[in-house]
Subunit: 357 residues, 2 copies
Amino acid sequence: MLKKERMNRVLEKAEQDQLLISDPCALFYLLGKWFYPGERFLGLLIGKDRKPVLFLNALFHYEEDPDTETVTFSDTDDLTAMLAEYTDHSKPLGVDKILPARFLLPMMEQKIASSFAIGSLAVDLARAIKDEEEIALMKKSSKINDQAMVLFKRLVHEGVTEREVADQTLDIYRSLGAEGFSFEPIVAFGANAADPHHMPDDTVVKEGDAVLFDVGCRYRGYCSDMTRTFFYKKGPSSEQEKIYNLVRRANEEAEAMLKPGVPLCDVDKKARDIITEGGYGEYFTHRLGHFIGVEDHEYGDVSAANPRLTEAGNIHSIEPGIYFPEILGCRIEDLVLITENGYEVLNHYPHDIEIID
Amino acid sequence: MLKKERMNRVLEKAEQDQLLISDPCALFYLLGKWFYPGERFLGLLIGKDRKPVLFLNALFHYEEDPDTETVTFSDTDDLTAMLAEYTDHSKPLGVDKILPARFLLPMMEQKIASSFAIGSLAVDLARAIKDEEEIALMKKSSKINDQAMVLFKRLVHEGVTEREVADQTLDIYRSLGAEGFSFEPIVAFGANAADPHHMPDDTVVKEGDAVLFDVGCRYRGYCSDMTRTFFYKKGPSSEQEKIYNLVRRANEEAEAMLKPGVPLCDVDKKARDIITEGGYGEYFTHRLGHFIGVEDHEYGDVSAANPRLTEAGNIHSIEPGIYFPEILGCRIEDLVLITENGYEVLNHYPHDIEIID
């Protein structure tokens, strides 16, 4: 069923009078239903003062919806001619940033609009500000993630590999009420924790290893994402402890400055300065955070390159890390919500140094 | 490392003098390496009498390759300006069918070529004819799939759900040497088998159910895909047996006519006529088969709409089915290779009616 308030917020932000939205995530946001079109065309045409039209392959189904006209087509229909009947040929058309060339080029050749531009930024900007329904689902998703972390660390024992641990996480998420992963879980032991892109392999845990979990689930479509770094059987060395505490302080002080109206680059700088002053700046090799919602990585990042101001309703990660191969790879990540007056951390799993026995 | 013979076959089939290939599957085919660019740009520019250029985000790595120039860029670089230095602005550029609008529109605005068209059909056509290396990998992948089917049927027992069975299949594939699924496995009990798009859920198996497995794995990048329909605890009724044997005959007679030079629509017709003459034509609701290789579904299908002729080196599925909700849902699928003189079925798991006890 069309979520009119969300559509109206998109249209307020749109630079074109007509938008053709194709991204299944954006359509879930606007219609509350997931479509899996694969290679097939999928589009929702919206505009000011017009009824939205959903173009849907006959293989898929959309409910009866008084606010939306549904046009079905088959694999052999002329898609461009069908779209041309509904677009205003005298006005620019904003298309989705992901619209594949095989659909876009025929639309341009057939001149179904006066010009073509990327129009999906309006959807991205609307999605960056979560409404009440979304905030409730995001909180629940992160709550499940907190509960799951307690169970995940118990999977680590003598002789176990990263992959064996990772393979058990999906069942745990499901048993807690999630429908699946928000991304493939990262489980990294020892030196592997110092590679932020490491994927679980056959590495066996050994005493003294860092044990890093970067994990998230999906609850009714909404994503969680949290990282914790534990130690196996043995507490950290003094340099490891120093690194861990720097990362922790970068996380907590960056979170503490959050409220509406803060430049996102300043949040990144806060965390980066702490790590740099601690002497490990060159080992913090990525941005501080990313926006999240229906997708694990959504439009908007917490980085030196983004001067935009935080707004109430934003939800993003704060995930400083230090990746020092010979000593320690460590990351501490929470999701945070910007509220009217400040912020709320959605993850409640503690930041303390913890030894898995 | 660039596979020059494959690239030359692509260029022979190309309608433009310069092609920009973005699809990670196509790049695996041409370079032998998987890239996971996510939302980031990835492109291989190839053309007659020019050295291929790989445009790669600095986050990713490509080996030293004397046959390919690699241009790396960062998230903040001007991608279009970079591409403009390498394309011939006076000639058309063939772009990948999947190239997203956010990359294509700026290239068109900056006129980095004289015109733009979909050029990736040349890659698709080259990929449809497997070389010796690919055939060997496809055979191995299907051999693993045959072995896995023996183990999958043993997972079905009193009280088990489709999802519980499906959840155990990945470990079995891995234990047999595959790296993962070629697609999410379909496990369907009873009436669910009559929905060709059914995904495993909490349905519990019961005596007399059809038990349908549509499954495949990936071996060194190459996909397998096979379907078998079993019966649980009890043999088929006479109408079920009639349906099963019609599907089996459609499969085997369609396979038996394969050799180079046969119109693919005729192969579909062969199977469809058998099922129609048997009285179930309206319950065979999809095409007979699809091409397969690096992707589970590749360019090329075995359907009424495709008059192209089979060629030696084609590998595609033959998968007739009858979906009669109250009686039986049944599909029997093999992969077949077109050889110089005939065909070879890559799956060796039998087609006989089999009862799981």
